[in-house]
């Protein structure tokens, strides 16, 4: 009998633990609810953690520094509700349903990655909910006819616009380009854009192959790549595979003049993991600590400015995550998405999704993250990428020239 009681009480405790976070949180008057199925575990955990921190940092700024949002004659504060989607599609859709129907959020944010963003979009569309895309770069998202998806991150097709321009400018004799990338939404859209750009600029694509996203060994593919003798290698996917690609290029003694890897190469962990092998490796980035966007600069360009400056953002981010961690672009783009929402709600002076969506369409502004402007499909066209390069263990912005914090290192030093 005693055992039964013990058993039942533990069971109830565990059940309570499951249920409590799910109790619907109805917003009181004066609160605007943002819902987010974030990736806090699984393959995208790192990016998800950054995004959540970025959103919380900007929320802090909006509620405490800015004084809230002026809408419908009152000052409202932002409330943030998020769940762990475990980097899984099924979880994204079910969590979005819960956020919209049970938690009754006013606006939704997409999970990190193009694949997961796409997975959740139809749910948001079904309910006529605004769906802020902060981590999904694939152009495909905006070819589906969705009306409520609004992008803050720059689209994949523009990732390598700068990289190839840079090569052409520095070394016109480097003509051969190899593409080796992950078979997922994001990488495909980036490489398609790179292919088109390469053709425009007169490069020759000598190798173009994909690999499965969860690959554990790239040796056969890279042996093949070696035989095509490229000058420029562009590729990658997300995080582990980017590190793997770099490492195994070194293992096989492949020495390109330029190596650019999406996503992985822009993270601090990359330099730590690869040490000397990261020297000279580049990656396109949406935002780096060190970019020089400011209120003054915005005024000069005649653009509206909102939000904290870079230093303030970094401080708020550290406060939000509770440790001394520098935000990366995942955090910045998520935070910028919140800023866009704030401006649009005030402009529309309403919480109605259609009004806000219209306001977002007309919106153009600048923030610590850079420019922001969407086209009629919701795709981001106002934001430009920068290329960073690892030099002596530090990430340096090397392109475009206007945003440089250091000169590009070309050709890439040989792997030892």
């Amino acid at each position: 009998m005693k055992r039964k009681v013990l058993f039942l009480s533990v069971f109830l405790l565990a059940a309570a633990g499951m249920v409590l976070p799910a109790l619907p949180c109805h917003a009181s008057d004066g609160e605007i609810l943002i819902g987010h199925p974030a990736c806090l575990s699984g393959s995208y955990a790192k990016a998800g953690e950054q995004a959540v921190g970025g959103i919380q940092a900007i929320l802090d700024w909006v509620n405490n520094t800015r004084g809230g949002i002026a809408v419908e004659g009152r000052k409202a504060s932002l409330v943030y509700k998020y769940y762990d989607c475990e980097s899984k599609k099924e979880s994204v859709t079910s969590l979005l349903e819960r956020l919209i129907t049970s938690d009754k959020v006013h606006f939704t944010f997409a999970p990190y990655s193009s694949g997961l963003t796409l997975a959740g979009a139809p749910i948001a569309e079904k309910y006529g909910m605004i769906y802020m895309d902060h981590g999904g770069a694939s152009d495909k998202i905006f070819q589906q006819g969705f009306e409520y998806v609004v992008q803050t991150i720059g689209p994949g097709s523009l990732y390598h616009a700068g990289t190839l321009e840079m090569v052409k400018a520095i070394d016109p004799s480097a003509k051969k380009v190899a593409l080796a990338y992950a078979d997922d939404e994001f990488a495909r859209s980036v490489m398609k854009g790179a292919e088109e750009r390469a053709a425009e600029l007169g490069f020759e694509i000598v190798f173009n192959r994909t690999y499965p996203a969860k690959v554990t060994d790239l040796t056969p593919l890279l042996s093949d790549l070696k035989a095509s003798n490229p000058d420029v290698i562009i590729g990658g996917g997300h995080f582990e595979d980017g590190q793997l690609l770099n490492r195994q290029l070194a293992d096989l003694g492949i020495q390109p003049k330029l190596l650019s890897l999406i996503a992985a190469a822009t993270l601090p962990a990359f330099g730590e993991a690869l040490g000397d092998l990261a020297e000279g490796v580049m990656g396109p980035s949406h935002w780096e600590y060190g970019v020089t966007f400011s209120e003054k600069g915005a005024k000069k360009l005649g653009k509206m400015w909102i939000g904290p400056n870079q230093e303030e953002f970094v401080a708020l981010f550290k406060k939000a995550v509770g440790k001394d961690m520098i935000p990366d672009y995942h955090a910045a783009e998520a935070g910028a998405a919140v800023l866009a929402l704030v401006l649009a709600v005030e402009k529309a002076d309403s919480l109605d999704p259609d009004d806000v969506r219209e306001a977002l369409g007309d919106l153009e502004f600048m923030s610590f993250y850079g420019g922001w402007n969407i086209d009629e499909t919701g795709k981001q066209v106002g934001h430009s990428m920068v290329d960073v390069q690892w030099q002596k263990g530090q990430r340096v912005i090397v392109w475009p020239v206007a945003a440089q914090t250091g000169k590009p290192l070309y050709p890439k030093p040989d792997f030892k």
Binding site: F11, M18, S41, T219, P220, E240, D251, A273
Partner: protein, 361 residues
């Protein structure tokens, strides 16, 4: 050109396969003795990878020396998990007094799963430290619960329970490692130079990894054939009732096998990082679990040697097929590689349903 590529890939495949094979030996051993499928297999490989990473980064210990450390850690972990979670669900001596019904066992497993789900949600919502302490508290409560309900029983628990338990153990490991080390993808750089064979390049670390795997397989063979405990383990795999009546302490053998199996798996994580020293993160295990299952089936499920051999075959198939498939016009070789490997697996199983090697303990 074609043959150069093919030979290069086959050599690489041979080396990679030996490491894959070694990574599967623990899985086969645990299944052979306990009939438990360790669904959390990949998470233990991850623990080994982190062991090598931390020892190298903090203490400058070369991965070769991390191997015995990993084995020790793995065996301790295995013992803790065996006595804490697995033992109540298997019945080593086959003899029990109290008849605890399947329903209670199902409930216990269900509580465990519920607790795991709660943990995930909590860690997302609450402050990290609070979540962690509740985490530990729940584990302790579970262990206590298991001993209240567990112990000697007449029949084995439902097979589903062991799947759930090993899955949950894997999840616990991932989450604990994530709390301590964050989900960052890490790596280390241990450079020993390369061997240039002309048609392909082999870093010495990869050669060492392969050699290490082979050494472990040989040591395991010696263990199974030249030591008392090893012979006893073989007999339990072969016929557990027969072993019992011969005087083999089956209770201890179960614990030892599980612990050794986990130890081997953790060790394989170290060898794997010698091969691929980057991308080390708490969730890296997933990619390897499926591969390990395929290799285990290929090698005959209960035989560790079969697993090793199966791994080599798998590595050869995966890599060798790339060149063959790349020769086909217009295809994406890598996508086809996987398909091809699985087709070959099916063909082999049709010809030899029990796997490549006859079952030898």
């Amino acid at each position: 050109m074609f043959f150069e590529q093919l030979s290069g890939n086959l050599v690489q495949g041979l080396i990679l396969g030996s490491v894959y094979g070694m990574a599967t030996m623990g899985l086969s051993l645990i299944f052979g003795v306990l009939q438990v499928v360790n669904v959390g297999h990949g998470a233990f490989i991850m623990v080994g990878a982190f062991t090598a990473l931390i020892l190298f980064q903090s203490l400058g210990v070369p991965p070769i020396l991390a191997i015995p450390v990993a084995l020790l850690i793995g065996m301790c972990l295995g013992m803790i998990f065996y006595y804490g979670a697995v033992k109540p669900l298997v019945s080593p001596s086959g003899a029990g007094i109290r008849k605890v019904g399947r329903r209670q066992l199902g409930k216990a497993a269900g509580v465990f799963v519920a607790v795991m789900i709660a943990m995930r949600i909590l860690s997302g919502v609450l402050d990290l430290n609070i979540a962690f302490s509740i985490f530990i508290a729940i584990i302790l409560m579970y262990a206590f619960l298991v001993y209240v309900y567990g112990g000697r029983r007449q029949e084995k628990g439902p097979e589903l329970a062991t799947l759930l338990v090993t899955f949950s153990l894997g999840v616990i490991l991932e989450e604990v490692v994530k709390q301590i080390f964050t989900s960052e993808a890490r790596g280390y750089n241990w450079d020993l130079g390369k061997l240039d064979l002309g048609f392909t390049v082999l870093p010495f670390t990869k050669i060492l990894a392969s050699g290490g795997s082979l050494t472990v397989a040989v040591l395991l063979y010696l263990w199974f054939n030249k030591t008392r405990a090893g012979m006893a383990m073989r007999s339990v795999v072969e016929d557990s009732v027969g072993a019992r009546v011969c005087g083999v302490n089956v209770d201890w053998q179960y614990a030892l096998s599980f612990s050794l199996g986990i130890g081997l798996t953790v060790t394989s994580g170290v060898l794997l990082t010698m091969f691929i020293p980057v991308g080390i993160n708490p969730y890296m295990g997933g990619g390897y679990t499926l591969k390990a299952f395929v290799i285990a089936v290929l090698g005959g499920l209960a035989s560790p040697y079969g697993a090793f051999f199966g791994g080599v075959v798998f590595g050869l198939l995966e890599n060798g097929s790339y060149t063959l498939l790349a020769a086909l016009p217009g295809g994406e070789p890598f996508a086809l590689t996987r398909f091809f490997s699985f087709v070959m697996l099916l063909v082999i199983l049709l010809i030899r349903p029990t796997g490549l090697l006859r079952r030898k303990g």
